[in-house]
């Protein structure tokens, strides 16, 4: 009995180790990157150019991008839309330049559907943004992900437009 319990715990530890070694959680959604921190996605390569450009040649534009910390998603999707990538990279650049700064990535969904399933969906969205930032070179220890699912809606309404505003990832800088 005792041996069995020990064996089970070894199996669990082993499987956790195996999973953490394989950090990309994806089944083909965007924002998945190779473990060495290099971006493998086409969108990532394009957007990193915008980020560099902003950093060195256009401070005002960079600030505007840095201030953009809410990224919206399509229904039942964790794919990052191209329009948000420059802002995500601007925030990534800030974290790289300030290694002691850290962020919480809050994942959210619209109110429809099952609450716990929505928590899982929200985490996928936040993880996608985290993966994109890490691909840029942000240290994993600077990012923490929390998914609120549908528990912290952006707006209380239930129109398609309201739902669109609810489906989001928000960057919150730690105080």
């Amino acid at each position: 009995m005792k041996f069995k319990a020990l064996f089970q715990s070894l199996v669990v530890v082993g499987s956790i180790a195996a999973l953490s070694a394989c950090s990309a959680p994806g089944n083909g959604s965007s924002g998945q990157n190779s473990p060495n921190g290099m971006s493998s996605g086409q969108g990532g390569a394009q957007a990193s150019g915008v980020g560099d450009d902003a950093r060195f040649s256009d401070g005002a534009r960079h600030n505007a991008l840095l201030a953009k910390r809410t990224y919206y998603f399509n229904y039942d999707s964790a794919d990052i839309q191209d329009e948000y990538k420059p802002a995500i990279f601007a925030n990534a650049d800030f974290l790289i330049a300030h290694p002691h700064a850290s962020i919480i990535l809050e994942g959210h969904t619209d109110p429809r559907g099952s609450r716990e399933y929505n928590v899982a969906l929200g985490e996928r969205r936040a993880n996608a943004v985290a993966a994109l930032m890490k691909s840029k070179g942000v240290n994993a220890s600077q990012i923490r992900v929390v998914s609120y699912g549908a528990e912290r809606l952006a707006v209380s309404g239930r129109s398609e437009h309201d739902f669109q505003l609810d489906r989001r990832v928000v960057v919150v800088f730690a105080q």
């Binding site: 089970q8 669990v12 956790i16 559907g113 609450r115 716990e116 928590v119 969906l121 699912g149 912290r152």
Partner: protein, 438 residues
């Protein structure tokens, strides 16, 4: 602004001490052929008791949807013992059964005598033994009268329908109240099954979700996001004492008790994606059940066999699957609709209720696992969420929308009885029906 906050807190605190209902009950649709029954106001000897026992019984039975109740305002004769009953009178009224009783004040408590009569069998004033379906006497202190009334309702319900009543059970739910400045505040509350006696178990400026009653009804497991992290807590309902039982990085969600109350199935994403684990509450030992990159969540224990049903999107959209805890073999249970989630078994293990969507609104669905027959229970023009089954398997409790607010609703598993539980204030969501408590 501070003043407003104090007022707000005062309102909250006053709600804690009073016995009024946070939720009220409105029967919006009952069954065809509801059992006609007279609940005669009880004769009072001595001081008037603080609770109108007969009125509570009347409300219980009327709101169950299975009875058509005649009481104080519909009756003209008020017998308190069998010898006073005119059976002809009740036949004229049109009821098959009548409840009569007496409440006598003795020192600090009350003696309640209640009889359920089969008045259809009676002739004139002849009191035949088979007329009295039950006759019982209880002693109760003033604070216990309401619970006693629910207990009597349970007995009447069971005697007439053959099914154990749920009037003595409780509900747990989350209330979201918008404070003066707009920041939401979250309360985990427990009330009687009829919405009375609401008591807060937790209040937080961060979300609270997924309350789950332990099989003995003494504890509630839930998810709380305090400190901006999800964690699973187990709280003693009576004392409010609580322990954090799961606080891993990422998701700590969807707690579900094993039938013996010794284990908790939980969802953790510490591996990178949400998977289902079993947490042994005594040893804190974790066993991983699912191990893939899909979403696996909302475990629920089968009361029949050694298996757990759960939600997974492994086939693209969320559907309900069942995993055998011995062999780890996984089978798919739901095929009706694009979206099936948040399942729970009825006590007999042969049926499943779940959240179902097939391109339109989200509804409560009911699946007969033996026959494979699926039906939608909530034909409302609003989304539903978080279905939870009554311990006698007759009704589902769920969250829905009414007049732009989140409210609770109940629907019978045959779809015929519909009950709305509007809230006095705030948005009420994510309900869980307790097990039988005695």
């Amino acid at each position: 602004m501070r003043k407003l906050l104090i007022v707000f807190l005062a309102i909250c605190l006053s709600s804690v001490s009073s016995a009024w209902a946070m939720l009220s009950m409105e029967l919006t649709q009952g069954v065809f052929g509801a059992v006609p029954i007279a609940i005669v106001p009880f004769a009072i000897q001595g001081q008037t008791p603080p609770q109108d026992v007969a009125a509570i019984i009347s409300n219980d039975l009327q709101n169950s949807g299975r009875f058509k109740v005649w009481t104080k305002n519909q009756l003209t004769q008020f017998p308190a013992s069998v010898s006073e009953v005119s059976f002809d009178y009740f036949k004229t009224v049109g009821v098959d059964n009548a409840v009569i009783g007496k409440i006598e004040q003795v020192d600090g408590y009350y003696t309640v005598k209640v009889e359920l009569l089969d008045v259809a069998k009676g002739k004139n004033h002849a009191a035949l033994p088979e007329i009295v379906l039950f006759e019982q006497k209880f002693n109760a202190n003033p604070a216990e009268l309401r619970a006693l009334a629910h207990h009597i309702s349970d007995q009447i319900y069971q005697t007439i329908t053959g099914v154990r009543g749920v009037f003595s059970t409780r509900l747990a739910y989350v209330v979201v109240r918008q404070a003066a400045r707009g920041a939401p505040h979250y309360f985990l509350e427990v009330s009687d099954q009829d919405g009375y006696n609401p008591r807060p178990l937790l209040n937080s400026s961060d979300p609270i979700m997924s309350p789950a009653w332990s099989p003995n009804g003494k504890q509630i497991a839930y998810v709380s996001f305090e400190n901006k992290k999800s964690a699973i807590y187990i709280e003693e309902v009576a004392s409010g004492q609580r322990n954090r039982v799961s606080g891993f990085p990422g998701i700590n969600g969807a707690p579900a008790w094993s039938p013996d109350g010794k284990k908790l199935a939980v969802v953790l994403s510490k591996s990178g994606s949400p998977n289902i684990y079993i947490l042994d509450l005594a040893s804190h030992h974790l066993t991983q059940l699912t191990n893939d990159y899909y979403i696996n969540t909302e475990p629920t224990w089968s009361p029949l066999n050694n298996s757990i049903a759960f939600t997974s999107n492994r086939s693209g959209s969320p559907q309900i699957y069942q995993i055998n805890l011995q062999t780890r073999a996984v089978t798919r249970l739901t095929y009706d609709g694009k979206y099936n989630a948040r399942a729970s078994f009825t006590a007999d293990g042969n049926h499943l209720i779940m959240l179902n969507q097939d391109g339109g609104l989200y509804n409560v669905g009911f699946l007969d696992l033996d026959a494979g027959v699926f039906r939608i229970l909530t034909h409302f023009n609003a989304d539903s969420e978080s279905p939870s089954i009554a311990p006698n398997g007759t009704m589902a409790l769920f969250g829905t929308l009414y007049q732009g607010k989140s409210v609770l609703g109940m629907v019978s598993v045959d779809g015929h009885i519909q009950i709305r539980l509007p809230a006095l204030d705030g948005e009420v969501q994510d309900p869980a029906w307790s097990p039988f408590l005695s």
